[in-house]
């Protein structure tokens, strides 16, 4: 066993077998922050320092102009997130953090897909679009752009359906999420 600080060789397996508690599921963190310059960098920096990869990140205003909301998702199967949540709390500009319980949360993401289709294929894509309650927002002779809203999973599913038709590109906003029921998120 290669020990730190000694000359013994470390195997790659040992390097990979680093400890840490993994929840094994996706986490959606909803963070209220003061609307000040540099806040996003401070938050992103905390994740970077631990070597965490943020899957999605959205920032937007709240009903109070001094406060913004950041919604970010990351994979709890890859990263132990409880410690980083505590670290986030230490940031002076962070007001509130919630690790949203997926069963008590409505999450939505907006995506736009540009698909290279014409003629009969276009009709087929439009049909899929209808099933997913998407909307066609642009059409040319050789392409259409479809707008879809839903959970990440739904958007993933839509992508799988339209990809074979010739997906030119796809834009996703990242999820926003709100707690179910009367209480605030």
């Amino acid at each position: 066993m290669g020990e730190p600080g000694t000359k013994e060789l470390l195997s790659l397996e040992e390097l990979e077998a680093t400890a840490g508690h993994h929840t094994g599921r996706k986490h959606t963190l909803s963070i209220l922050v003061e609307n000040k310059p540099g806040v996003l960098t401070r938050i992103a920096g905390l994740f970077a320092r631990r070597g965490f990869n943020i899957d999605t990140l959205t920032v937007g205003p709240t009903d109070d102009e001094r406060i913004s909301r950041i919604t970010l998702t990351l994979d709890g199967a890859l990263h132990p997130i409880d410690q980083v949540t505590k670290q986030l709390h230490k940031l002076i500009n962070v007001l509130k953090i919630r690790d949203l319980d997926p069963t008590d949360t409505v999450a939505r993401e907006l995506a736009m897909f540009k698909v290279a289709v014409d003629g009969p294929q276009r009709a087929e894509v439009m049909q899929i679009c209808e099933i997913f309650r998407g909307k066609v927002v642009d059409v040319t002779k050789r392409s259409i752009v479809v707008e879809v809203t839903g959970t990440c999973d739904k958007i993933d599913a839509f992508e799988r359906m339209v990809r074979p038709f010739g997906l030119v590109e796809m834009m996703r906003t990242g999820e926003i999420a709100i707690a179910r029921g009367r209480g605030e998120t």
């Binding site: 066993m1 020990e3 730190p4 600080g5 000694t6 000359k7 400890a19 922050v33 003061e34 310059p37 540099g38 960098t41 401070r42 920096g45 320092r49 410690q83 505590k86 670290q87 709390h89 230490k90 940031l91 002076i92 500009n93 962070v94 007001l95």
Partner: protein, 558 residues
């Protein structure tokens, strides 16, 4: 009023007596304000020295230290000190100049993105964007630095904004809705902790620098003596419990005593106060204190269960929590005879494994002997500021610190070059006390330029260089773990430290004889002004005992 004059008013309102700084283009306005401000300014010779001096001042006095630098290189030279203050939770406000706002982000002359560079190493930082923000930012910086878990705060002020004319009104409130440190401690949890302590048969109290920061030494003593609890301190906590003492086990960790480390290893309950289970404490984490349940008292919730899962977490100020814990514990009237067996086991270790070394047969000074001689010469009445390396560990082992704030060192970051400037800051903060800088021939050279500051300002630091001609700690590791393949650890014989001292306007001395060492040290301490002593010690001596890297505490060697 000019914004910079408002800065001075803020500093005075915060009770600042002294700042350590270095002028430059971007903080010219600030330096102009110093002319009339009536605040002592110590002109250091390198911004890093100023940063560490502010740390030493803060650690010795318990007040917030202040360091100043200009933009660009002045600011980046502060980075090591800022990191050091972060790692050791030292309250310091760093004021840096910045290029004027129209040049921001253009690679202007002496521009460095100080906010970006320091983001991971500050408790908080302020980039001033409007001159009216300045007073509030300064006051909030002090508030953040000193409250909760203390730490460094950077305030970066563009030079044009500092010249602005603003109305100054004292700021008495802070508006930090996202910053409300928990200080009280949950009463239910505290009661649980008291019960756990009362039923523990092999308890250990493990205290760290947080106790010193919280000025909770008396409360720690009260807890330890509310029963026959064994107590050990981390490197940062030394002095929080007075040594020597029947209930004192010595320091724990990599170079701690066997009694302390074995007690942790066999404990059934560890009560951690203001410490963070650092890897230098735990050794191999998976085999650390395998039978113990943990009470973890800390002001910083992010420390709880970070390395070791806490069974009874208590977030709060150590002074507050310990006061309540002592009251709860006393109410339980636990039977201390349950600890008989535990103490006989601990006493066994203390008898069998005292800290010891083989003294030289001739006049050669063993490094451990130097520390003992320092203790004898001072009677323990000194602030000892160490650098980083073997001498630091020997001082921690052999100098018995009987009160907090008498032992100042760079624990978390392990910054070589910390010693001299930090001692300088401590001496400025505590002019009535003897301040010894114990350093190595390596670390001393990393900030030796501050001798000029000491000489110029008449700061009477007594520097003892434990000179073995090696980067001793690295050499020890190369000897023990890298087959004695010494690689670039031999420091050679230069400089001549006596001549160097004299060149800087200090008194230089050289000690080589152990038989006169105690008297020689007394002579050095009685010599007025800054003194530098080149103490020649055994070249190859190792710090023992030792938990080898990655090994478990029970497998200590040496």
């Amino acid at each position: 009023m000019r914004a910079v004059d408002a800065v001075m008013e803020c500093l005075k309102a915060e009770g600042v007596e002294v700042v350590f700084g270095y002028p430059g283009g971007a903080n010219l306005p600030t330096y102009d304000a110093f002319v009339d401000a009536g605040i002592r300014h110590v002109l250091v010779r390198h911004e890093q020295g100023g940063g560490h001096a502010a740390e030493g001042y803060a650690r010795a006095t318990g007040k917030v230290g202040v360091a100043l630098g200009t933009s660009g290189p002045g600011a980046t030279n502060l980075v090591t000190a800022i990191t050091d203050a972060m790692m050791d939770s030292t309250p310091v406000v760093f004021l840096t100049g910045q290029v004027r706002t129209e040049l921001l982000g253009t690679d202007g002359f002496q521009e460095a993105d100080m906010l970006g560079i320091t983001m991971p190493i500050v408790k908080h930082s302020f980039m001033i964007q409007h001159p009216l923000e300045i007073p509030r930012a300064i006051h909030e910086a002090f508030h953040i630095a000193r409250t909760g878990r203390p730490g460094p705060v950077v305030v970066d002020i563009p030079t044009d904004l500092s010249r602005a004319d603003i109305p100054y009104e004292p700021v008495t409130d802070v508006r930090l809705p996202g910053y409300q440190p928990t200080t009280e401690g949950n009463q239910k949890q505290i009661r649980q902790a008291a019960k756990a302590l009362a039923s523990a048969r092999r308890p250990v109290i493990y205290a760290g620098g947080g106790v010193v920061n919280a000025n909770a030494s008396a409360e720690l003593i009260a807890l330890v003596r509310s029963d026959r609890f064994p107590v050990t301190c981390t490197l940062m906590g030394l002095g929080a419990y007075p040594a020597p003492d029947p209930q004192w086990l010595g320091m724990l960790g990599m170079h701690g005593t066997r009694a302390a480390n074995y007690a942790m290893d066999e404990a059934d309950l560890i009560c951690c106060v203001g410490a963070r289970f650092d890897d230098r404490i735990t050794g191999k984490l998976s085999e650390f204190a395998p039978r113990a349940k943990f009470i973890h008292i800390d002001i910083d919730p992010a420390e709880i269960s970070k390395n070791v899962p806490a069974h009874i977490p208590i977030v709060g100020d150590a002074k507050n929590v310990l006061t309540k814990l002592v009251a709860e514990y006393r109410a339980l009237e636990a039977d201390s005879s349950r600890l008989e067996e535990w103490w006989s086991r601990i006493d066994g270790w203390r008898e069998r494994y005292p800290l010891t070394y083989e003294d030289s047969a001739d006049t050669e000074i063993k490094p451990q002997r130097l520390i003992e001689a320092m203790y004898e010469a001072t009677g323990g009445n000194a602030i000892v500021v160490s650098d980083v390396g073997q001498h630091q560990m020997w001082a921690a082992q052999y100098f018995h610190f009987d009160a907090p704030r008498k032992w100042i060192n760079s624990g978390g970051l392990g910054t070589m070059g910390f010693g001299l400037p930090a001692a300088m800051g401590a001496a400025v903060g505590c002019p009535d006390q003897t301040v010894i800088c114990l350093t190595g021939d390596g670390g001393f050279q990393m900030n030796a330029q501050e001798l000029a500051t000491c000489a110029t300002e008449g700061i009477p630091v007594k520097v003892l260089i434990m000179n073995n001609g090696y980067l001793g700690m690295v050499r020890q590791w190369q000897e023990l773990f890298w087959d004695r393949r010494y690689s670039h650890v031999d420091m050679g014989q230069w400089p001549d430290f006596v001549k160097l001292a004299e060149a800087y306007g200090c008194t230089g001395m050289r000690f080589e004889d152990k038989t006169t060492l105690v008297d020689d040290i007394r002579t050095a301490l009685e010599t007025p002004g800054p003194v530098v002593v080149d103490v020649r010690v055994t070249k190859e001596e190792n710090v023992y005992p030792m938990i080898a890297p990655g090994a478990a505490a029970r497998d200590m060697v040496g």
